[in-house]
Amino acid sequence: MNTVTAIKPTLTVVEPETPAPTQPRATVAAPAPKPAAWYKGKGLQTLRAILPPIIGFALFVGLWAIISQTSPNLPGPIKTWQSAVQLFADPFYQKGPNDQGIGWNILNSLQRVGIGFGMAALIGIPLGFMIGRFKFLNDMTAPIISLLRPVSPLAWLPIGLLVFKAANPAAIWVIFISSIWPMIINTAVGVSRVPQDYMNVAKVLNLSEWKIFTKILFPAVLPYMMTGIRLSIGVAWLVIVAAEMLTGGVGIGFWVWDEWNNLNVEHIIIAIFVVGIVGLLLEYALLLLAKRFNYE
């Protein structure tokens, strides 16, 4: 009984990711009191917008259910759902260092991503500006960047362990090194694509280098920079699961590994969804932020 009352609010917290917010809109739009023709058109439009994703999800879940029927070790959607309800009933419990709620695991992973990504942004964005502005620097760094960029993120982990002699900073180091490239490259490309017209304005007005940066370069490059940041966050969140599987500690990646050792497959599937949803939310938040800086 206790759990039932606790489940309800968490349900609404976890779900509103994809199909949920659109469903109520459809039910609100359909029984319209006033101008019927206008509302019919509107209702049809929303229906057209939300129907394909709903069908897609239904097919996905259906396929999953069928596969789980044939493979006894793979839990089906219903079993996973019940397990998720239980799991999210108490996301912030703490029973020692290796047994903490899913909420703590997510927050710990986000913290690592935040630190690693933050440091990458602090170094990568100014570096990108300088590489874009000075050709010499570009020619100097281009071969190194092209050499290091395609390296698999996890290949950097041993170096991190060796240098920092601890698992946590090594994981942050991996995030840092794998998420810095998109920011350097996109910022540098942005600087080199600043329209010549704007640079002519700077020349004709005889602006100082600082004014050129604050009034022309920075605002002109901002959209490119935001793209770089978005790609970087994506990479960082992609890499954290793998890095934590290797380094351990509290985090969603290690949690997946731990549940594998416990053979709790429901939890692994839940973790996959959680990682997907958090990644989607990060991406969406940055897209909203990027929209603010679009001038045209």
């Binding site: 017209d197 304005v201 020349k203 004709v204 005889n206 602006l207 009034k215 605002p219 001038y295 045209e296």
Partner: protein, 263 residues
């Protein structure tokens, strides 16, 4: 009369992949203070190149360019430029776009209130007080070009350089802005050099029309003095015999003597 802008034996050669390209050859031109000069010629004849040389955006080793007795070594605030495509910074309001120029020229000598006043005055001069705090994407093409003019004028330049400023505008807006530019040039006694390929615009606005021959190796083919009395009225001139005579002289130069075979 003082020679305000002096262009002496100027050649301009661009290095291209196919070897050197001579854009301008042996150009000589003197502009006196307060004079309104238009440069006219077929497209690609190097009129914008000549203007950019005066602006300081291009450099040549061959020949001498002087402005108010000093050699033109690079761009400077004493030569205000209005670009063809307005070149306003889209993230700044009209006021801030003009203020950027005002601050640069007068920022070291005057306080903020005075700088703001100058900006307001420049925008009032082009009739844009009501749109001061709008962003460029919120106003029409003609208004953007006015902000561009206000930005150049606010610097109180010795010479105003305009590179086909009305080329991208519709005919009615263009006529309106030509009238305003005429008024502004008269009230501020500006020295103006303007690139155009519109014959009517050239005759209406200029004291002298500088006609360039076709490139490559373009040079000044002829200079026509426009001795129509000021202030000029577009409607009265429409029936003026002398206006049409001047106009046909420019047309004759462009289409008889300098007709492009494949234009």
């Amino acid at each position: 009369m003082e020679k305000y802008v002096q262009i002496e034996n100027v050649n301009m050669v661009f290095d291209t992949k196919k070897g050197p390209f001579v854009a301008l050859q042996d150009v000589n031109l003197h502009v006196t203070q307060g004079e309104f000069i238009t440069l006219i010629g077929h497209s690609g004849c190097g009129k914008s190149t000549l203007l950019n040389l005066v602006a300081g955006l291009l450099k040549t080793d061959d020949g001498v360019l002087l402005c108010a007795g000093r050699e033109i070594a690079g761009p400077g605030p004493e030569r205000g430029v209005v670009f063809q495509n307005h070149s306003l910074l889209p993230w700044l309001t009209c006021f801030d776009n003009v203020y950027l120029a005002v601050e640069r020229v007068f920022g070291s000598k005057e306080d903020k209130a005075k700088l703001k006043q100058r900006t307001h005055e420049a925008l009032a001069l082009v009739g844009l007080t009501h749109a001061e705090y709008k962003h460029p994407h919120e106003i029409s093409g003609g208004m953007k070009q006015r902000v561009g003019i206000a930005r150049a004028l606010a610097m109180e330049p010795k010479v105003l350089l305009l590179d086909e400023p009305f080329g991208a505008l519709d005919a009615l807006t263009r006529a309106h802005l030509q009238d305003e530019l005429m008024k502004i040039a008269q009230t501020t006694h500006s020295t103006v050099m303007m690139v155009t390929h519109d014959v009517d615009e050239a005759v209406l606005l200029s004291d002298r029309i500088v006609m360039l021959t076709n490139g490559p190796a373009a040079t000044i083919g002829d200079v026509l003095s426009v001795d129509l009395p000021r202030p000029r009225d577009r409607l009265a001139l429409a029936n003026d015999g002398h206006y049409h005579h001047l106009r046909s002289k420019v047309l004759e130069f462009l289409y008889h003597r300098q007709l492009r075979p494949a234009a």
